[in-house]
Amino acid sequence: MPSGCVRRCADPSSERAAAPSRDAARPGRGLLRVSPRGLGALLAGLQRDPWFGYLLVLPMLAWVFLTLIYPLVDTARLSLMNVGYVGTPGAFVGADNYVRVLGSGEFWRSIRVSLLWTVLNVVLQFLLALTAALVLNQEFRGRQIVRNWIILPWLFPSIVLATMGKWVLDPTLGVVNYLLRAAGLVRTPISFLGSAGLALYAVTAVNVWRWFPFFTVIILAALQTIPRELGESADMDGAGYLARLWYVELPSISEVLKMVVLLASLWAINIFDAIWLLTRGGPMYATTTLTILIYYKGFQEYRISLAATLSMLMFLLLLLYGLAYLRRAMREEVGAPA
């Protein structure tokens, strides 16, 4: 890349655009001088790097800054005060909120629930996605259509997911209970979403159904980059197949698999809608993850400062966890213009 890069990186406008706007290069007609004649020069100057680059990235940068960095700073500020309802004034209370939250059982319970939720989701999504990807990587009729449309569940809003989950798992109307009874496995209907012991698993099952197809698509694409000679035949049978899978195919897509685990976990921690719509964090807080607890504190109990404190703690935890992701992102370069 180095030798080609020097030529290619050269800003295409620098030599050519100079021709029609030569006076931009003359002394005294710089970018900052705006006279009637200089306006053309200014416009020409703005169309050259670095100004052109800055100009184009600026709107998105400003947008993101106002909607991400400002909220972060404001959350930090709110977490040091005692604000209740939105709009009510609060007093500075220092680290009181942090002491209170870190000493509360509900915070640690939500951490435990979040951990279990994330691990369950990541493991199940990963295993299902990998299995489905291996299955769809075989040669079969209509494979192109199936490989694209497998993502279908991911296209739906989670209210559809919640409808489906509630409907299928309902104790009296649900098909799952019906089948369990018909098979003689249970006598009394099970309230999957209504029992503290089962709710988290039930919501996980529903959520996994929505997300695993998304990762199937990514893993499938990675599998297809493996040269055919390595995989020989894509049939899924025999010990030879498993050995090849373990020693050849999985190692050669390990980077993608790592990324899938990282993304799946970051997204799982952030899930709000599926849990809220199915159980509202209940029963008995069994599905109250940190995200749910923050929403609950802020928008049901109207304790803005406590919610802000929880948000800051979640931000720090994710930052710690996301270091692996960040390190990877930080290594990544945009690359030279092709």
Partner: protein, 273 residues
Amino acid sequence: MRLAKHLARYLSVAAVLAVVLLPMYWIVISSFKTLPELTSSTPTFWPRTFTVEHYVRLFAQVPFVTYFLNSVYVALASTAITLVLASLAAYSLYRCRYRGRHLLYRAFISIYIFPRVLLLIPLYVLFTRMGIIDTLLALIIVNVTVVAPFSIWMLRAFFTTVPLDLEDAAMVDGASRLQVLVRIFLPLSAPGLAAVALNSFLMSWTEYLFAVAFIISDRHKTLPVGMAHFLQQYFIDWGLLMSSSVLIAIPPIVLFGLAGRWFIKGLTAGAVR
């Protein structure tokens, strides 16, 4: 032996398809069952009755059309703004040359680890002060931020493959750089723009967290939030839930049919490189 292999292959594919499709089948047929059949404790796997009453009620009894149009408006506006901002930013990052662009790219990509719920409270406070709480504009503003990193990330696969020579040639012909960007570069990257548009439409269409927190009045509710009312704790209107679930799924499916292959390409080219 060959036959067994063949059979195993198709059976495994069928199993995967069943996992994905059966729940959807269940919703669709349920939406056409009459209420007695729908709420009978013995489910029927092939409907015995057929009715469109649950669909009719959507239009006659509840403000489904209002919710639907709100959702369309939010999704289209979010998509339009995202397209402009993301394609300009991505052009800058991938095609321009200046100090700090690597750093900028990394900063954008790092947004991923930002917990979404963190934005909830400060933006609620900010939007209240700005007087735009309980408006669709509030949702549009957040949606653009939420899809920004993914959009920039996905455009890379499309923006880095357009040959520089094309731009150079147009520049020699006297076109300004902005003209080249708008008239030559972006049309050449149309598939990438389609992929980004589909993604941001889907994200806005499915968004629930901000929509439920920022919207108070019924006439500003988006479809997912409006539908959540049918799913109240003590009374669940199954008929309305089924029929609206079917209808809310149609726009994503149609759009994916139109631009899905580019979306998949952007998604996988970004992930597998």
